[in-house]
C-alpha cells in the first residue's frame, strides 16, 4: 500500500553504520531501550524527511518493540510526519497570544505567497507546506514561524515575501 504509493519499494535501512552507532552510543544514558524511541524517530525524520510504515517497522526491530507501539507513538506527536512534506515545512503559531497580534493575517500571507493556498497542502512546486501550529512558546515575539528547524520571530504579513525569498 503506502510502500508503492510513495515509491519506496526498495527500502534502505536508516540504522546502519554511523547512524546505528550514534543510536547505540545513547543506550547507556537510559535504563531502557524503549526510551530511545523518540530520539530514534528524530533520526529517521532527519535522514528521510518523514517516517514511513517501513521506517516504523525498522525502528521497532532495532529497539525490540512492536510496530503497533511505534506507530502509536509516531501518531501521538505532531512533529513527526507520516507522509512526505514540502522541502520547506512552515509552521505558523496562531494560538491566542499571537492571534491577538495578527497571526491570522500572517498565516494568510504565507498561504498566498507560498502558493500553498490551503493549510496542509504542498505548493505546486513542491517547495512549501504551511500549517498552523499551537503555541510555539515565543508569545512576546508574535508571530513566530518555523521553517523546518529555523525559528523566526516577529513575522508580519509585510515581511512574508522577503522571508520566503530566502528559500527560493
Amino acid at each position: 500500500m503506502s510502500v508503492t504509493v510513495h515509491g519506496e519499494e526498495a527500502y534502505e535501512p536508516v540504522f546502519t553504520g554511523e547512524t546505528l552507532a550514534a543510536l547505540e552510543r545513547k543506550y547507556a544514558e537510559y535504563p531502557t531501550k524503549q526510551a530511545l524511541l523518540l530520539p530514534a524517530l528524530w533520526m529517521v525524520q532527519e535522514k528521510r524527511g518523514w517516517i514511513s510504515e517501513k521506517a516504523i517497522g525498522e525502528v521497532a526491530q532495532v529497539l525490540g518493540l512492536t510496530p503497533a507501539l511505534v506507530k502509536g507513538v509516531v501518531t501521538f506527536y505532531t512533529m513527526y510526519h507520516t507522509h512526505p512534506v514540502g522541502k520547506y515545512f512552515i509552521q505558523v503559531c496562531t494560538t491566542s497570544p499571537c492571534g491577538l497580534c495578527g497571526a491570522e493575517e500572517t498565516l494568510k500571507a504565507l498561504l498566498l505567497h507560498t502558493g500553498c493556498g490551503e493549510l496542509g497542502a504542498t505548493s505546486p512546486d513542491g517547495r512549501f507546506t504551511v500549517i498552523e501550529v499551537e503555541c510555539l512558546g515565543a508569545c512576546g515575539f508574535a508571530t513566530p514561524v518555523m521553517v523546518n528547524d529555523e525559528f523566526i520571530e516577529s513575522v508580519a504579513p509585510e515581511t512574508v515575501p522577503a522571508l520566503l525569498e530566502r528559500y527560493r
Binding site: 524503549q34 506527536y77 512533529m79 499551537e134 510555539l136 508569545c139 512576546g140 518555523m146
Partner: protein, 437 residues
Amino acid sequence: MGYPHPSHPRETVVLSRYFGDPEARTYDGWVKRGGYEALRKALGMDRSAIIEEVKASGLRGRGGAGFPTGLKWSFMPKDDGKPHFLVCNADESEPGTFKDREIMRWTPHALIEGCAIGAYAIQAERCYIYIRGEFTEPWAVMSRAVEEAYAQGILGGNACGSGRRVDITLHRGAGAYICGEETAMLNSLEGKRGNPRVKPPFPAQAGAFGLPTTVNNVETLAAVPHILNRGAQWYKGLCLGNPKSTGTKLMSVCGHVQRPGNYEITMGTPMKDLIYDMCGGMRDGRKLKAVIPGGSSVPILTAEEAEACVTDYEGVVEAGSMLGSGGMIVMDDTTDMVYQIWRLARFYAHESCAQCTQCREGTGWTTRILGRILAGEGKQSDYELLLDLSKNMTGTTICVLSDSCAVPIVSGIQKFRSEFEAYIRREREPALALGPA
C-alpha cells in the same frame, strides 16, 4: 531584564541578568560571571543541608503549581539503593509563557548548574532535561553547553573534582502540549505516548522508569544556584509583603502591551506597575480590557481586577485567578472575548491526549458550541450547556487539561456575558462561518 528590552528600574534582575549577552552562553563567559561556584559549594555540602537551604528560601515551583521546591525534594526516598532521577521540565508550551526559552537560549549554564545541584541533592544518577521539540535554538545552545560542561569536568564521573558523578542528558520532545504535564512527560521520556498517569503513585515514589523521580521547571532550577551563592535569607527577602511568595519571578507579558517581553519582578509587585510602567501600557492608546495572568489555563481577570492585583501566588488567587507560569496575556478594548475564548478552547481540543472522555468530548463540544455562537447560530440555552459541560470537565479527569479548557469559558461567561449576548441576539456580525471546528 525586560528582554528583549533593556532592564526596567522596577525589575529585580537575577535570572535574566545576562539575557542578550552572547558571552554568557559560553563556559568561559559563565565562569567569569561567577558560574559554577554554587555547584562546587553544593558538592561539598551534605545533601540534606542543600534541601534545607532551598526550603528556607521559600522557593516555589515556577512551572505553574507553586509547590515548595525544597519540600518536593525532601519527598525523595533516602539511601534506598534504587536509582533516582531528576527531570527538568523544559517543555514550555503554556500559551502566554516564553521565559524558559530565554533562560535556555541565554544562560544555558545556569540551568545546567541548577540541574546538577538538584540531581546531587536528591541522589539522582541522571538529570534529563526534556526540551520541547519546537525549541530548536534553545536545543542547540543547551547541547553546546552540556558538551562544554562535560569537557571541562563540571559534569561526569568526577564532577568539579568532587569525586561524585553528575550526568545530564537532553531529551527532545516531538510536539505535544500535554507533555508539559509531569507524568505525561515521564511517559514520553520512556518512549511512550504522552498520556498523563493516575496519581498516586507520585513521581517521588514511582516516576521515570518506575523509579523515584523529581520533576522541576527550568526557572525553578535556574534559581537554585543563586540561593546557594547568596543564601536563603537573601532570597526570602525578595518579597514585597507576603512571606509565602518569595524571590523573583519572570513574567512573560504578551498581547496588546507596548513592550512585550520577560520582566523579572520581586514577588508582590503590583500588576498595575508591571503593565503600565514596565511594559509601557497598552498599544495605540487603547484601554485595558482583560488579563489572563498565569498562562492560558487560569481564569480571566477584568481590567479592574488586574489593576488591583498583587503579583504573587496568593495575590493573584485573591484577585480570582492564579499566578501559574507567569505568562500574562494582556488584551485591550478591541478584543473580541468570545473569539479569544473559542480560540483557547480550540487549543485545548487540539492538545487533549483523549484518554479521558470528559476531556476528549468536552474540549471538542465546547469548541463547537463556541464556534456556533460566533457564527451567529447561538441560542440562549448555550450558556447553560457550556456551563454544564464545563462542570463535567472540572475535577473529573486524570490531569487538569480539561479543567484548563473549562476555566476561560466559565470566567468568560461570568465576566463578559454581554459579548456572548451580542452574538446570540444577532446584534453583532458573525466572526466565523459555521463549519467543522
